[in-house]
Symmetry: C2
Subunit: 177 residues, 2 copies
């Protein structure tokens, strides 16, 4: 049950419409909790029905028009409750590792290409993250008021760095088959 809380957090940071949220999920929140626009619209409907958020009043027709939402006190309270509660880390679920294990049984054809492709993807994402860090968290600022946001970004950087290193290592071991 994390999606509603991801949306509440996003809306507290800045009231938005469904499509704006979708874009923010593609750019920042989605780096560690991805969601499609379908999930977001549906969840916005539920959050509104349960009194956690409300649509800001607007003129004009409903269909095809932007609909902005803001968080109500009940929504903030729910987010506080959820933030204080614990949850175990998610089990890893990565098809590439499954493929490696399958390849050990049925053969390694095409594996090299696939690893190369993943390496390029992870390198690109790592560069993205480093660029964001350079822009939003320059080394000069000593009294950092956004320490938590930075910690989250550092997690993304650390994970992508891990994948790049692991893929490089694994690729260099593979040709010996």
């Amino acid at each position: 049950m994390s999606l509603p809380h991801a949306i509440l957090t996003a809306l507290l940071e800045k009231p938005s419409s469904g499509l704006e949220l979708t874009r923010r999920f593609d750019r920042s929140i989605g780096f560690f909790w991805s969601a499609t626009h379908q999930q977001i619209y549906r969840e916005l409907g539920r959050l509104e029905a349960s009194g956690h958020i409300r649509a800001l009043p607007q003129a004009g027709p409903a269909r095809g028009q932007k609909k902005e939402y803001e968080v109500l006190p009940a929504g903030r309270a729910e987010l506080e409750r959820w933030t204080a509660e614990g949850a175990d880390p998610r089990a890893v679920r990565e098809p590439l590792l499954l493929r490696l294990r399958a390849a050990a049984v049925v053969g390694t054809a095409g594996l090299d290409t696939e690893l190369q492709r993943h390496l390029a993807l992870h390198r690109a994402k790592l560069d993205d993250y480093l660029e964001i860090e350079r822009r939003d968290f320059p080394p000069g600022r000593a009294a950092d008021e956004n320490r938590l946001q930075h910690a989250v970004l550092r997690a993304g950087i650390g994970l992508e760095t891990f994948w790049v290193e692991w893929l490089t290592e694994t690729l260099s071991a593979l040709p010996e088959y």
Copy 2:
């Protein structure tokens, strides 16, 4: 659509019953593709219906009795097909990072304890993995015939190492709030 392929791989490694598979998913395959016994039994039923696996003949009553499965040629072919095909890396989905971001908005109460708890969990898992590595992949063996399995385990070790380091770092930055 990875679960059926995870099961095919497991059954090729060794024909098993549903419960045996469940245990192996808790111990080894589940490290990178977790599944409950419910998912496994349901998927075994589907794989049998589609002719990818078959139940080994057995005496005695059906209910409450162990039922072993083995992979049929069609199943192996399907696994080969799937292994050669590509799939993008999964987006990260980690509630803890969401919590950090939410805490930046609604307050950090209880966050320290939660990070400590995660650190302990990741340390334990890392120790598990290192123990398995020590047991199954001792440094002496130069001509390693299980390179792929070892690579998969190294991925688990790398990921847990990352989390331990990141949590330690983040915890040391947190008290300054």
